[in-house]
Symmetry: C2
Subunit: 232 residues, 2 copies
């Protein structure tokens, strides 16, 4: 049995885009897991893995092996459980690693300020002070100012970062090809993150990304769709 | 024999990043080709292919078949000449298509204003008026103002767009994996474009992208390195 240490917000919301990558990867591989909720103030729960960030997994079928970082976890899962691979070839692994870097350094950077005050509002009460202080230091302003400024001017920038995804979806149903694979799980995690906390309409109604996102939310018995949203 | 209709600037410079994709793809596949230079004012040369943009190829070994657009040309070459494939699997093709969209919509958009006046200066004299008028309309200002403003404020933004490439290169020698492939050719074309016309240092000296670019310029008997640069 695998235990996933998963970021938790109020109402048992699970926003972490990085944890979503791991949850979707575990389901892709047909592996059972349980989650251990971790709030921003509970990070001592991750110390056994030498980590201060989620996701972390503990694999009790492999001597309690601890693995941290969603990308390292994906590589580990394919090594420890070769069936239903996440990466069936070096090309699939390279493609996924590239999308991983693109999401982290381009898409998330544009998205984060758009929902940062909503993230704060949905954090557990005991985590809010930590969240505010650490994120305001990073943003150089208050969460509320950063979010308002971003919504006034940066929504087109964020939507623009998705253009490579749109081009891909004009040619095939999933980012990865005819079927969803790890590149899709990465970007699905990107969308599940704001979906969990914010009512903001991140996409225009006629954006072709909507159809892909619907397909992603339906995967694995609708695990993404069933997850608690901003509305509860 | 394949004829590539290739954008030409003064001094027989060949800046088009899209034509570079095709030239590198032809060499990857070991296919001989000749180039037919096309300036901005010579676009009637492309009419036989129903195109107003380069690259276009005419394949006289296949009944003079005309193919336009670097991505369509890559797919055509693999179909018509299956040996030494550009895309040995659906995953390789998906990966390359994603990088194609990323380069076109993210990297080039950030790069173009940084070198737009230098591009103009190196266009053939008879093409400069067309280049200025069409690009100033797109930019909403003069080429010189756009370039100066971009260099004052947007160099870090352009460098930031390359972060997914840097992450990839931290794990493997080429964007595509252990060996260069079409994703690398796409981004090599991105760099050969300004290299042909501009002395601007686009990367910081310690950027790991430099080492990769050196390897790309060395490919195929140094075809990129030997091409005329801004300095001549």
């Amino acid at each position: 049995m695998i235990t996933l240490f998963d970021l938790v917000f109020s109402g048992d919301r699970r926003p972490s885009p990085f944890c979503w990558r791991t949850k979707l990867a575990l389901r892709h591989k047909g592996l059972d897991y349980v989650t251990e909720p971790v709030g921003f103030c509970d990070k001592d729960k991750l110390a056994f893995a030498g980590s201060t960030t989620v996701p972390v997994i503990r694999d009790d079928s492999h001597g309690g092996r601890a693995v941290r970082d969603s990308w390292q976890i994906a590589l580990y899962l394919d090594e420890a459980y070769p069936a239903q691979p996440l990466f069936a070839s070096a090309a699939e692994r390279s493609f996924a690693r590239f999308v991983n870097g693109w999401a982290d350094t381009t898409v998330h950077v544009a998205l984060f300020p758009l929902v940062v005050a909503d993230l704060h509002a949905q954090a557990r009460p005991q985590d809010q002070a930590y969240f505010r202080e650490s994120r305001e230091k990073r943003l150089g302003t208050t969460l509320e100012s950063a979010q308002q400024a971003a919504r006034e001017t940066r929504l087109p920038v964020w939507r623009g970062t998705l253009e490579p995804l749109r081009r891909q979806l004009a040619a095939q149903p999933f980012l990865s090809g005819d079927a969803p694979a790890y590149p899709d799980y990465i970007v699905a995690g990107t969308f599940l993150w704001p979906r969990t906390v914010s009512p903001l309409a991140l996409l225009e109604a006629d954006d072709p990304v909507n159809g892909w996102l619907d397909r992603m939310l339906d995967l694995f018995d609708g695990m993404g769709r069933k997850a608690p949203t901003a509305a509860g």
